[in-house]
């Protein structure tokens, strides 16, 4: 079986549907929502939110596939889709052009007003299901004026339902002064659980890996790996395509294989950052997993004000997330990298003597049922960092 972790839309939707794990409740809910739009004049808009590799495109493909098989829904919709690689949408007219083209409308030589009229004529009483991936980028390209025009078209015609996705929430839907403020049912895609990752491997990995994962030892390795890299489906598709039972058992090779495949992607993304932002990301990738603005500023050699501004941009860009700690001073925010794999990237790129191997070995031991170690702490990674610090201090 050829696995396409980065381009699920190349696989037949039925195949994607068969190997869907952890998303079935969401898909049922979305299908009912669209069925309601097909049968009534309700037009609920949906925004799927999840980082790269969280399965947004997969969910959309499978949803459209199931909708096609739903006798109550399909013929009521005209589907127009802007995929995540769509570029060049710089105005409302551009968006209408892309939607019209996808829906089969003759869009040549038309302006926004006549594109609207042509779309409505083409609908002929049906509902336009506008599927827009990377909505943040599309809205950014259109600007507020374009978003307003889209909003008023949708409100005036009552004939459009939007199904969109985005890597993270953005101000154009969260600020009251923006036309699409609060207009979407936001559905956050959650990481898969360990059991769901095991299910996914069961669908797509080779038989020897599936057999290993079925053992107690194999499940312990999976739990350790899940702790280290998280539960985003794309990572597990990559693991399924490359891991062997031996690599999974040793764990370090499996993690290194995984990180190695994402090196070019992380490098490109890191190079795109401004210098201050890149320094902060490096500090977060190599230091404690969570830190306050003051701690990060100190470690990166920046003023707190500069660090706070840069962290704001990193947060908007989906690199970091802030969190409050129960019982702690609620004015303080702790920041950590959103992607666990990015920390492993820094450790891996730190060289063969870097801390990656130690980190993985410790986590492997914590999750190993045969090891005589205490159960995993609430934040094993922080414990590993603290422990390594103590070991190194003792060694010197």
């Amino acid at each position: 079986m050829t696995l396409r972790p980065f381009t699920p839309s190349r696989d037949p939707a039925a195949v994607l549907d068969d190997r869907t794990v952890g998303r079935n409740e969401l898909l049922s809910s979305l299908l009912r929502r669209l069925a309601s739009a097909a049968q009534t004049k309700n037009r609920p808009h949906t925004l799927l939110v999840g980082p790269r590799g969280s399965g947004k495109t997969h969910v959309i493909d499978v949803l459209l596939h199931r909708l096609a098989g739903d006798p109550l829904g399909w013929d009521r919709f005209v589907i127009a889709r802007l995929d995540e690689d769509a570029v060049g949408v710089a105005s409302y007219a551009d968006l209408l052009l892309e939607l019209g083209r996808s829906a089969g409308v003759d869009v040549r030589g038309r302006d926004a007003g006549s594109l609207e009229a042509a779309l409505v004529e083409h609908l002929d009483g049906r509902v336009l299901l506008a599927v827009i991936e990377n909505l943040a980028r599309v809205f950014g390209g259109m600007g507020t004026a374009g978003q307003r025009d889209l909003r008023s078209f949708v409100e005036t015609t009552g004939a459009v339902v939007i199904l969109a996705s985005t890597p993270q929430l953005f101000s154009a839907i969260g600020s009251r002064n923006e036309p699409w403020f609060g207009s979407f049912a936001v559905e956050h895609l959650e990481p898969l659980t360990v059991d769901e990752c095991a299910d996914l491997l069961g669908h797509v990995a080779g038989p020897d890996v599936v057999e290993f994962v079925g053992t107690r030892r194999g499940r312990a390795r999976l739990a350790a790996l899940h702790h280290l890299v998280g539960g985003w489906p794309r990572l597990w598709m990559v693991i399924a395509g490359s891991a062997t039972p031996g690599a999974l058992d040793e764990l370090v090779p499996a993690v290194e294989q995984l990180v190695e495949q994402f090196v070019p992607s992380f490098q490109q993304r890191l190079w795109s950052l401004a210098a201050n932002e890149a320094r902060l990301v490096r500090v977060m990738g190599t230091g404690p997993p969570a830190a306050t603005v003051a701690e990060l500023a100190d470690a990166a050699g920046l003023t707190e004000r500069t660090a706070a501004t840069a962290l704001g941009r990193l947060s908007d860009g989906g690199w970091v997330r802030g969190e409050k700690r129960p019982g702690a001073d609620q004015r303080r925010t702790w920041y950590r990298l959103r992607e666990p794999l990015l920390r492993l990237h820094f450790q891996y790129r730190g060289g063969a003597d870097g801390p990656l191997r130690e980190t993985v070995e410790y986590v492997r031991a914590w999750f190993d049922p045969s090891e005589l170690v205490p159960p995993p702490p609430a934040d094993p990674e922080a414990a590993v960092v603290a422990l390594l610090g103590r070991v190194r201090a003792a060694a010197t």
Partner: protein, 391 residues
């Protein structure tokens, strides 16, 4: 009379609502419908209170008897608004034949909405052999004349956005534009307009006298029994299981302050939780939403928009809201002034300035007047304010 049985309604967090699923705001609906017998209404209310949904129901109910045109004016592009207006007219049987015979242009600006017809062909209604052009006419006057003897009801949603766009092109243009809308409704007996907007007109125009002929209809939270009915429908639509539906519904109504948008959010979140819903869980969902960094109920704007709305006075406005948020009850101006005095403000407002600010906070739906005192308009916004300001 027995109450109607609840029917399933799925949570809809901002998309158009089927008029058949619009619940509540019966008094406001009646006021709008009655206003159509005169010159119309100005419908105001904060975003997500259900104004647009109410207007759709008004359109739905009035359409069999009247000629109803409903269009969103939420655009910065007056030309695009004009094109859409023509499309809406073409979609109506009363105007379709006439417009098919003419090439029509609509000009939208501070002088109003003006229609110009050119090159009419065939038919009995004028125009003749083509190549003709008539003088521009006010579109609404023209449409009302065409619709007679039926009443023409024009529903313009988010009117303040278009007015602001016109103001940007021509200083003072927004007031002129609103005056241009007033003229035909004063002149034509069979024309009524329903203007609506979440952005208060006071943000678009200094002088709102051009709309003082319209009946003001304010859309706020629902009546509690209506909110309870909507909650039941949403629980059905989202297939949320409860052990004690009455208790859960009561908790939903109270937690959402009977505001439909938050009721929809509660039902949506309850469905995503997937477990049996209890009154305690309702409050858990609500309280978690108030402190969630992702702001899933979109409450942070109440804080963030202050700078845009109040300019240099935004810190004072925030201080007034701080005082109201922690007060045990409504505060009159003297009480408010003494609370502000304890806050060590750089500039202490005069009584008149404070009164003006409080009235603006009322117009922007933060505060609600109770006698001579003011309190937060809704408890949910007060609690959100406390959470955001760490009070």
């Amino acid at each position: 009379m027995t109450a109607p049985a609840a029917w399933p309604i799925q949570a809809n967090l901002g998309g158009p609502v089927d008029p058949a699923d619009h619940i509540g705001h019966g008094d406001e609906f009646d006021q709008v419908v009655r206003s159509v017998g005169a010159v119309g209404a100005l419908v105001t209310g904060d975003r997500r209170m259900g104004k647009t949904s109410l207007l759709r129901k008004v359109e739905h109910v009035l359409s069999p008897e009247h000629v109803v045109l409903r269009i969103s004016a939420e655009t910065d592009d007056p030309e695009l608004f004009g094109r859409r207006l023509v499309d809406v007219l073409r979609g109506h049987r009363v105007f379709a034949e006439e417009l098919a015979r003419w090439s029509v242009t609509v000009d939208v600006g501070y002088k109003g909405v003006r229609i110009r017809r050119e090159g009419g062909v065939g038919g009995s209604g004028g125009g003749g052999g083509g190549g003709l052009a008539d003088e521009p006419d006010d579109l609404f006057r023209w449409a009302a004349a065409r619709a007679a003897p039926a009443k023409l009801v024009v529903i313009l949603d988010e009117i303040a956005v278009l007015a602001l766009a016109i103001e940007r092109r021509q200083a003072g243009g927004s007031v002129e534009f609103l005056r241009s809308l007033r003229r035909p409704r004063q002149e034509m007996d069979n024309l009524a307009m329903v203007l609506a907007g979440s952005v208060g007109l006071h943000h678009a125009v200094v002088d709102t006298t051009p709309v003082n002929d319209l009946q003001r209809v304010r859309v706020g939270p629902m009546a509690a029994p209506d909110a309870a009915f909507l909650a039941r429908c949403l629980l059905l639509g989202e297939q949320v299981h409860t052990w004690d539906e009455d208790a859960v519904v009561a908790a939903m109504v109270e937690a959402a302050d009977a505001i439909p948008y938050f009721l929809h959010h509660l039902a949506h979140a309850a469905q995503r939780r997937g477990t049996t819903l209890t009154p305690a869980a309702v409050w858990d969902i609500r309280n978690a939403a108030l402190v969630d960094p992702d702001d899933p109920w979109n409450l942070r704007h109440y804080r963030d928009r202050l700078r845009d709305y109040y300019g240099d006075a935004h810190e004072l406005a925030a201080s007034v809201l701080d005082a109201a948020a922690v007060a045990d009850g409504p505060l009159d101006l003297s009480q408010l002034a003494s609370r502000l005095a304890a806050m060590e403000l750089e500039v202490r407002p005069t009584r008149d300035a404070l009164l003006a600010l409080v009235e603006r906070l009322e117009a922007d739906h933060y505060l609600a007047r109770q006698g001579v005192a003011d309190a937060f308009a809704t408890r949910i916004v007060r609690d959100a304010w406390r959470a955001m300001r760490r009070l």
